[in-house]
């Protein structure tokens, strides 16, 4: 298809709580991706970074900051911020540049250094900021994840054991991923013994925040062919659509949903709309997917995403999980990287880390966590203020 670009290289700095400057992670990831691609840094003509909001001014201009750290060589730079979808928007900027014929090969990079504990809003008395208001009223990120989880329990009959099974599944594959932060194989008993954070979600149902960095080297298909990499995995779709009014599920950081009271307005579910555009753009359907990397901010949210990606009918993701279909070796493996459960969230790097995993999987380089015969992978993530993304990688 004409709108595709090639993924020549992927690289990651291992996730953890290292406490170093985010630039260090970004540089390590970029260098690994360049080496993986066999592309000299001097040949990269566009550097597209995902911004971090917690590392001062260098984080706001992350694309330029990391380009400078790698050594100024005259490339054009871009920095994108879109909460958890920052990496995908940075990737979309690189794709646009390549498809417009303005550059052959680009570096896309995101890295973060995160503080401990709950993510908190900016200070002051600011009732005009919904993010400030919800924290003032005692509503944290896990509150939203827990509302979705409880609804699954009361409406679909999901159980605490189902949620724990997601953690057990992801920690088993994550234990085989050298880039993951948490590599212990947790049991259902471990999950049940962890502290209740936001009922029904326990500490081990909720993802941590991590330091990490991820990078991709992407190029035109022509450039890839010239390098002898015409069969490299390709980005076939990038969806970063907004919700459609009236968005009917209360999303971070809002205190209320849209109202669907006006004539002709229908309640719309946002997460489900993200992959629709991705499938359309790639010209494929959910039946073509070999594996999925989804944003398991909580264990229960992985089940929501499986349904949003249309990999299971609404309310039936837990049945898929119980049958082992979403595990490595199952019909439709989900989060074989270990997911956020094993990585923790490094916001500007996370959407790119998902694409790195799909790249290695589609090349058959994922070692002990390889999905056999993987041809098509899809990612999904979502952050604050209607930012989300879904990327499809094919080979």
């Amino acid at each position: 298809m004409s709108n595709e670009i090639a993924i020549l290289g992927a690289g990651m700095h291992p996730w953890g709580k290292w406490g170093h400057n985010f630039v260090q992670y970004g540089v390590a990831a970029a260098r690994e991706a360049l080496a993986d691609a066999g592309v000299p840094w001097q040949d990269v003509k566009f550097v597209s970074g995902g911004a971090t909001m917690r590392c001062g001014y260098p984080g706001y201009v992350a694309g330029a900051t990391i380009a400078q750290a790698l050594g100024w060589q005259g490339a054009e730079v871009n920095t994108s911020y879109a909460a958890c979808a920052s990496g995908s928007q940075a990737l979309a900027a690189a794709r646009n540049k390549i498809l417009a014929g303005e550059c052959d090969v680009a570096l896309v990079v995101g890295a973060d250094t995160t503080p401990k504990g709950f993510l908190a809003p900016a200070g002051g008395y600011r009732p005009e900021d919904p993010d400030w208001v919800r924290f003032y009223l005692g509503i944290t990120n896990p509150t939203y994840f827990a509302l979705y989880a409880r609804r699954r329990m009361d409406v679909y009959g999901d159980t605490l054991e189902d949620f724990a099974a997601v953690k057990v599944k992801n920690s088993l594959v994550g234990s085989k991923n050298p880039r993951a932060r948490y590599r212990k194989c947790f049991t259902a008993e471990d999950v049940a013994a962890s502290a209740m954070v936001a009922d029904p979600l326990r500490l081990m149902d909720i993802c941590a925040t991590s330091d990490g960095g991820a990078a991709l080297i992407v190029s035109s298909l022509e450039y890839a062919r010239k390098l002898g990499k015409g069969d490299a995995p390709r980005i076939s779709a990038i969806s970063t659509v907004t919700p459609t009014y009236a968005s009917s599920v209360v999303e971070m950081p809002d205190i209320a949903t849209d109202s669907a009271a006006a004539d002709g307005v229908e309640a719309q579910a946002y997460r489900a709309s993200l992959p629709v555009k991705a499938y359309e753009e790639a010209g494929i359907g959910p039946e073509d997917i070999s594996l999925a990397e989804v944003y398991d901010l909580s264990t229960a949210l992985e089940l929501d995403w499986i349904e949003d990606l249309q990999l299971a009918p609404r309310g039936e993701a837990a049945a898929l999980l119980r049958a082992g279909d979403t595990a490595l070796g199952g019909k439709i493996p989900v989060n074989v990287s270990g997911g956020l459960a094993c990585f923790g969230e490094a916001v500007p790097a996370q959407a790119l880390a998902q694409v790195c995993e799909l790249t290695w999987q589609l090349r058959g380089q994922a070692g002990d966590r390889q999905v056999e015969g993987a041809k098509v992978g899809i990612t999904a993530n979502q952050g604050l203020f209607g930012h989300g993304s879904s990327v499809i990688v094919t080979r």
Binding site: L137, A146, R150, A198, D199, V250, I255, A256
Partner: protein
């Protein structure tokens, strides 16, 4: 710090203009004069319905009863600007569907009600309770309270 309500300090809304302070309190929202969409918090400058270009809104009191869409609790002390009692007391939180407005509004659940007492679909009503206390007054906010069937 003494517990809220344990003295004669005046009551004040935690956030000005978001709810009435009456015995049967209501959230204060707005309704678009053109398309009829409701907004909470108040929307007064531009309508968020993509089919509507209205800039005219009327302040309205929202339904003070609804049904639980989902619920949870805060097992750990939220970060600032939340002001926690010492020791921290966990509290329940509900997302409540308002039928007429066709929207869901979050809020704490009244003290003394825990997640074990709640269920999706349960009817609730809006009441006011202290959120925290300052040197000058007791800051009140809206909370959801299960109503007898």
């Amino acid at each position: 710090m003494s517990g809220p309500g344990s003295n004669d300090k005046p009551l004040a809304p935690a956030i000005d203009g978001w709810h009435t302070m009456s015995a049967k309190p209501c959230l204060i929202g707005t309704q678009c004069d053109q398309c009829g969409s409701y907004f909470f918090p108040k929307q007064t400058h531009y309508c968020k319905n993509p089919e509507c270009e209205s800039t005219d809104f009327t302040e309205v009191e929202l339904s003070r009863t609804g049904h639980i869409w989902s619920y949870t609790n805060a097992g750990y002390k939220p970060p600032a600007p939340f002001v926690a009692a010492d020791p921290f007391e966990p509290f329940a939180i509900a997302a409540v569907q308002l039928e007429k407005e066709q929207m869901v509004v979050l809020g704490q659940v009244v003290q003394g009600v825990s997640v074990e007492d709640l269920k999706v679909g349960m009817p609730v009503e809006l009441v006011l309770e202290p959120l925290h206390e300052t040197d000058e007054d007791i800051k009140m906010t809206w909370k959801w309270k299960p109503t007898p069937l």
